[in-house]
Every structure is written in C-alpha cells, then in structure tokens.
Amino acid sequence: MTENRTVVLLLLLAAILPAFAGGQYVMHLLIMTFFYAMLSTSLNLIVGYVGELSLGHAAFFGLGAYASAVLSLEAGLPFFACLPVAGVVAGLAALLIGSITLRLEGHFFVLISLAFAEVLRYVVINSIDLLRGPLGYPNVPAPRLSLGGTVLADFSSKIHFYYLGLALLALTLLAAWRFARSSYGLGAIAVRENRRLARAVGIDPFRHALVAFVVGGALAGLAGSFYAHYLTFVGPEVLGFGFTLSALMMVVIGGRGTLLGPLLGAAVVGITLELLRSVNEARLSIFGILLVLAVIFLPDGLVSLAARWRRPTLEADQATAALDSPLRP
C-alpha cells in the first residue's frame, strides 16, 4: 500500500515540477528518466516477477521504435496511431519469441534471449532495401495533439514531451501494477520463488512467464515509440544490448519485483550517468563498480532500504517465537 502511494506521490511531484524548474537541459534529463523508467518497468515484469533473466529486451523496445518510425515516415500515420501499433507489434514479437524461448529456463533462456535480439539487430542492419540498414530513419516527426481543428500541443517545446512521457510512464506503471496484482502476477511470483512447488499447486510456469513476457514486450514497444518521436532518429543501435543493460542495471539497483524499484533505479542510474559525463571514459567502469557493490550490499535494491529501517524488531520477535522445536534441518 505505502509503495503505491509513494509511486503516486512521485508522479504528482513530477507533474508540478516544471512550474519550478524549467531549463531545457533539466527537462531533457527528466524526459529521458521517464523513458528509462518505462523501459525498466517493462523489463522488471520478466526479470523481477517471473525471475527469468531476459537479455533480449532491447528487441521489443527496438521493434516498437522501428514500427513507429516506419509507420509515420512511410505511411504518414500520426504519432497517436503509431504508438498503439508499436505496442502491438512488440507484444506480438514477444509472443512469438517467448513461446519458443520460455520453454527453456535458467542459463539456457538467458543465452537464447540474447541471441534472438542480436539476430534481429543483424537482420535490420542487413535489410538495406527494406529498413534502410545502418542508415536508419532520421527526421521522425514530432507528435501532434489536436482536438477537432484546434492544435492542443505541437510538441515544439520540451514541456510537451515532458507531459507525454509522464503520461506514458503513468500508463506503464498502471499496467505493471495491475499485472502484479492480478492472478498472473501471483502465479509469476510463485514460479519465481519455487518452480516445482508452483507446479504442484496448479500453476503453469510457461503460461505465466509468457503473459509477463508479452505484457513486458508491449510496454517496451510503447517506450520505443516514444523514444523514436522524441529523439527523431531510429537506427539499428536501438536493438543493441546497451539498452537492455541499462534497463537491467536500473531494475537491479532500484529493486527487482517491485513497482517503485525500476522508477528509483531509472532516476538514480540516469542522473548518475549524466553527472559522470565529465569523466566520460571512466563512466561505464565506475558504473560497473557501482553495480557490483549494489548486488553485494543491496541485493534487493534501493527499495529495501526503507523496509530495513521499518521492521527489524518485529521479525526478530517472531523468529524467536518460532524456535520452540529442537529439530532444525
């Protein structure tokens, strides 16, 4: 409950923030933070809830970005039509890839998920006639929000993207929250915690992993569409491992399997990366060290800090109460 409230509070704070800080640079930072929060929230459904390490998440994000760029540039569709299509395309790709790869678990799944994304990237690089290969798609048009004949927002200023990003992030979080609270989220947690026992109580691991994979894939596709229209360029690097890695760092540092975790992770990782821009070459090395430290000392992420403050005493009492049997395994 308190976690949901924190998330809502953060979103509300973000909504009123532009009234106080409106610099172009700060706006850009926050827009990218929203984007990364969407991406890591979508990855968290698979990594955090089902507990399978998917290293091919950029495939869904990239497909969404490409779908949106191609549709708006080649078919002239407006952004608000491209956006849902990008989600559907990425979701269908997740259904297809997931129904093959999720039959494997553990290391095998990790490897094959990475392989799928890399294969897709090479296919795009080599589809020069169809998808312009390494040239990519420049000049992806900005969205345009109009009602009747009047233009409400033409997205010529960053503030429009700011609120669009915030709205999409809120939508992503809403979807993730409902997933986690539904029986699908429950089943996914059971599979993550103990696959064998989950099966014994009637939970089909494959089906639950697939649902999470498809929802996560579709949400990544939406993030991809937003990315394409904000940065106006889509090339094969959107399918690269870098995006998966960034999102994964955010999920792990923020806290796996929580709603707030990826959000905190995106903010902390995104802003730290930006602050370290002055030491450009050492940036990723410093980050690697931070990630290692986080995994060792804070395996449940930043969100676990709050829980650590709150309830050490209660649990200790219950633990001693449970110790009345002399037999321990």
């Binding site: 014994a200 109580v201 109460a321 110790l323 049997s325």
Partner: protein, 257 residues
C-alpha cells in the same frame, strides 16, 4: 478414487517401478512403505506428473490423468507434498498460502486484471479459508513470519497447509514425518485422522515412521525393488514374511524410522 494400473518406470538400467497396481478408495488413508530405494518417491512422481510412466495408467475418479503435467494434475484435485522441505521460503507464511490458493483466487479475466469486486470478494473468501487452514494446523501465530524462519516441525506443517489450500480430493504426502520428533509425530497422526474424518479427504502417504503408519493407515502397501510385495491392513503387513525379509530380516518394529 485413485486407480494405478500396471505402472512401470525405468531409468537407464534401473527398473525403478515395475508393474505396480494400487487403488485408493475415497476417504481412505493408505501408506506406501518399503526400504530405501524401493521406488516409493518415483511412484509418487509418476502419479503426480513429475515423471512420465513408461507403461501403465493413472486414473483419478475415472479421469485418465496419465502423463499430464503436474499443474494439470493439481487442477484435477490431486496434490502432493515433497520429501525435501519445499515451501516458498522467502515469503511470509500467509503469502505461502496465498500462492497455494492460486486456483481458487482466479476470477474472470476482466475483474482479475482490473481488480473489480468479484475478484476482490473471491480473494477475501479464499484468504479466509487459508486462515482457517492455518488455524487448523496451529500456525496462525506465525502468519507474518517468513517461511525460512520457521522451525523444522512447523515447516512440515506449512507444507501440508500449502497442499490443503489447493483443496485436494486426494492428498499425497511424501514422508511428512521425516525429521519430526515423537511429540510432533503424534500431533501429525492426529491431524491426518482429523482431516480424513472431518473433511473426507483421501490420503496416500509415503512414510518411514512406523508408529505413524501403524496408527493412521487403513491399508499399507509395501514396495521393494520397484515391485509391490504385500498389501493389507497394518496388522497383516506387519506379520507378512516377505515384508520382514525385505527389511533385511530385522523384526519390523525395530526398523529405524
């Protein structure tokens, strides 16, 4: 209720289970015993879908369930516990039962995903039932304790609670008394009887604790080297020369649990 006919399983050169026939009637408590390596756990795995039989059939109340995956068999109302303690260790006890109640928490898709009142009411009713099961097993006071912090005896009870939350018609317990002290063993005996008498549950158990087996079983089936060598009431089986021989000639009562 449960009908196992001509079931066999071979692992490489080892015939783990050979042509076993076994029936369990509704409301009966049947124990499966035998020396280590007799194929008891393998038989459990074959019946509950964790392994596929080479030949033979498993029927549950007339439904053919042979070779179905474990989750499908659980949906048919046949639920097992494991020999090695198996719970959702990182989660509090009550959350263990919430996950175990999965099949009964599911509402229709719309209210499930949107969290509408049919789903919420269903969840509330299910959790009420889970708390009742918790109280039945004397675990109510550990509701908020993470499962990994429980004492061993309580963990074994939690496993039974998890199985009960699936609301089985047939409960299969793999060595539920392993590692329990004698007081806890007696407690378990009383509990199994109560479950049968009060809820009409049918129970098939694998067990080495002969006190428990003798006290609780209506019938005992003895396996040795994958084959059924004897079957009957506890008293009959105890006197059966083949059974005594299988246990290396030692008098039955002195067989260490």
């Amino acid at each position: 209720m449960l009908e196992i006919s001509g079931i066999s399983k071979r692992y490489g050169g080892l015939q783990a289970v050979k042509d076993v026939n076994l029936t369990v009637a509704k409301g009966e408590i049947v124990s499966l015993i035998g020396p280590n390596g007799a194929g008891k756990t393998t038989l459990f795995n074959l019946v509950t879908g964790f392994a596929r039989p080479d030949t033979g059939h498993v029927r549950l109340e007339g439904d053919e369930v042979t070779g179905l995956p474990p989750e499908a068999i659980a949906r048919h109302g046949m639920v097992r516990s494991f020999q090695i303690t198996n719970v959702f260790a990182n989660l509090p006890v009550i959350e263990n039962l919430r996950l175990a109640s999965y099949l009964h928490l599911r509402a229709d898709l719309t209210s499930d995903v949107l969290g509408l009142s049919p789903a919420r009411e269903k969840a509330a009713r299910t959790m009420e039932e889970a708390r009742r099961i918790l109280a039945l097993l004397d675990l109510a006071k550990f509701s908020a304790t993470p499962a990994k912090r429980l004492a061993y005896g309580q963990l074994r009870l939690l496993e039974i609670a998890i199985a009960l939350c699936v609301r089985p018609r047939l409960l299969l317990l793999d060595e539920p008394a392993a590692g329990l002290n004698s007081r806890e063993g007696e407690h378990l005996t009383a509990l199994l009887r109560r479950l049968r008498d009060e809820t009409g549950l049918t129970i098939l158990l694998v067990e080495h604790d002969m006190d428990l087996v003798m006290a609780v079983s209506d019938r005992v089936v003895v396996l040795n080297f994958g084959e059924k060598i004897a079957e009957g009431t506890p008293a009959q089986v105890k006197e059966d020369p083949r059974v005594v021989e299988a246990y290396l000639g030692t008098p039955f009562e002195e067989e260490p649990a």
